[in-house]
Amino acid sequence: MNLDDQKIDELAYLARLEFKQEDKEHIRNDLNRIIDFCDQLKSVDTEGVEPLVYLSDAQNVLREDLKEEALAKSEALKNAPSKDSDYFKVPKVLKKK
């Protein structure tokens, strides 16, 4: 694979990551090598094979739809980087023009 810096930037944005210029070459080289390594899969004959998505053969394991309190509000807020008594606080989403 020959991913260029632009493709690395696109992937990084999809993953919500960023790389400093000096690290970008490093991640690009690693990715190209890893993808080449994974390209070996192309030589496996998978004609007519269904993708394996679920490992369990159990089907339709249902439960009663009952109301329960999974986590108290104070617990849910416990690890918030920023909060007030009832809510998570996040940086402003809308900006003044």
Binding site: R16, D30, N79, V90
Partner: protein, 475 residues
């Protein structure tokens, strides 16, 4: 204090009044302090452990103690324990406190286990050497210039160096078995779906399983049996009943080995010779051994990486700097909150895998990589199960080399990934597999042998491994 190999030895001495849970905890705490340079623990729960020990000692006197009374256990730092920090050895979860307890841990506590602390690991369980931790590498206690394996390296060293009796790890591609092999322990990855993943910080959800690292087969089986079974919190946990295991010696089994595993380039000659000796020993003990060909060996690691990086890129999207975990001081809006927090919080290998996963899931490459790998996974599962219809077990070396040097593979991700070449088959196919200690190199490094069984046939697997271990006692 003497070094215990199993809970049953401890219980005998408790019954005779030679030790108590409190004295055991004090002993392990002292050992941990003496061995802090190994970096096996990220945090010691000393006050909790002492309090729990007192409680269990009382229960033992009352005759109301659970099945794990006397067992001092360490847990990997990706398993939640309410009121205690859990970080997956990542800066992004620095200071994070678990608000519930993993089902597996809950069940062990209900049987009076004593949890002594949380163990270092590769960040988000991604690694084969425990060098990818934000809190520094772990050292192998047999040779401190070498790695303990990963990702459950801290758990493995905690048991190896007698810092606790047993430990929990998690296995996605070999993260219990490979470090167990590098440290001379028993390490077990259950059948997929056997142990609830509730409370395990997710890496590759269709692969991850919690399992024990121990010194004896009995402790491995006991911890497993208590943790296993349906959990309403994990929809992928199996409804199948969990059988308890009782040892029946002298059973004869039919065992296959994939000849490519020892013919492949990259296996150390000493480990190859050792494996052949193990096979000879099994034959001498009356087991039937047959070599088979399995032409998929070289495809297993690539298949594993495509699928687990894809799952990781999705699972780790939850670390966004919004609800918990690290938020960057440069967060000014949605994008900078996500991007700066994640880029500052995640380490290099985690970023590499998220990027790889994002690539294989991106619209242009999804079918060529992700769907293709899912198909290859089915082929590997079908072919593995076909072999296990014919044989009771498949046996191989656990690893191609003994513990390697710190830094030796750190700069080459692919060499590091290939450390898992023998261990990824079991999680790709959802099968149970154990690594048991069967030898030492001439330099004194531990060698593990891996035994893989058919789905949900844990009991048979334990029985065989116990038989084998009996021939290798006192390693």
């Amino acid at each position: 204090m003497k070094r215990y190999r199993s809970l049953s030895q401890i219980r005998l001495d408790i019954d005779e009044g030679k030790v108590s849970c409190s004295s055991l905890v004090d002993y392990y705490l002292e050992r941990i302090a003496q061995n802090s340079h190994l970096n096996a623990f990220l945090e010691i729960f000393d006050e909790d452990a002492k309090a729990q020990a007192k409680l269990v000692d009382q229960k033992l006197k009352d005759g109301s103690a659970g099945r794990l009374a006397g067992m001092v256990l360490a847990i990997k730092d990706n398993i939640s324990y309410r009121g205690h920090h859990v970080s997956a050895s990542s800066k992004i979860l620095e200071g994070f406190e678990a608000v519930y307890t993993a089902t597996a841990v809950e069940r062990l506590i209900a049987e009076d286990v004593i949890i002594i602390g949380r163990c270092n690991c590769d960040e988000f369980a991604m690694g084969a050497s425990n060098e990818n931790s934000a809190y520094g590498a772990v050292k192998n206690a047999d040779d401190e210039s070498r790695v303990p394996g990963g990702s459950s390296g801290g758990s493995a060293v905690a048991v190896q160096a007698d810092l606790c009796l047993a430990a929990l790890g998690s296995d996605t591609g070999g993260s219990i078995r490979q470090p167990a092999a590098f440290t001379g322990n028993v390490g077990f990855k259950p059948t997929y779906g056997r142990v609830s993943r509730w409370g395990l910080l997710a890496y590759g959800s269709s692969f991850d399983q919690i399992g024990p690292i121990s010194r004896s087969m009995e402790d491995c089986a006991l911890i497993y049996e208590i943790m296993a079974g349906k959990d309403p919190h994990d929809a992928t946990s199996s409804l199948k009943e969990v059988d308890s295991w009782e040892y029946s010696p002298e059973k004869k089994y039919k065992i296959g080995y994939i000849k490519e595993t020892i013919e492949r380039e990259g296996i150390d000659s000493e480990l190859k010779a050792h494996f052949n000796e193990v096979l000879d020993g099994l034959k001498a003990d009356g087991h039937e051994i047959e070599a088979v060909s399995f032409p998929y060996l070289d495809y297993m690691v690539p298949c594993y990486y495509v699928l687990t990086t894809a799952e990781a890129s999705s699972n780790l999207s939850r670390y966004s700097g919004m609800l918990y975990g690290h938020r960057s001081s440069e967060a000014q809006d949605i994008d900078t909150t996500f991007i700066k927090s994640r880029s500052e919080g995640f380490g290099e290998e985690v970023k590499r895998r998220i990027m790889t996963g994002t690539f294989v899931l991106s619209a242009d490459y999804y079918d060529a990589y992700y769907t293709k790998a899912q198909k290859v996974r089915r082929v590997i599962q079908n072919e593995s199960k076909a072999l296990l219809d014919k044989f009771d077990f498949l046996i191989s070396p656990t690893t191609p080399t003994a513990a390697f040097k710190l830094g030796e593979k750190a700069s080459d991700p692919i060499q590091m990934y290939l450390a898992d070449i023998y261990t990824v088959q079991a999680p790709l196919a959802g099968l149970p597999a154990i690594s048991i200690p069967t030898g030492r190199t001439k330099d004194g490094l531990a060698i593990g042998t891996q035994v893989m069984g058919n789905s949900f046939e844990e009991k048979k697997l334990f029985n065989f491994c116990k038989q084998v271990l009996e021939s290798y006692e006192n390693l």
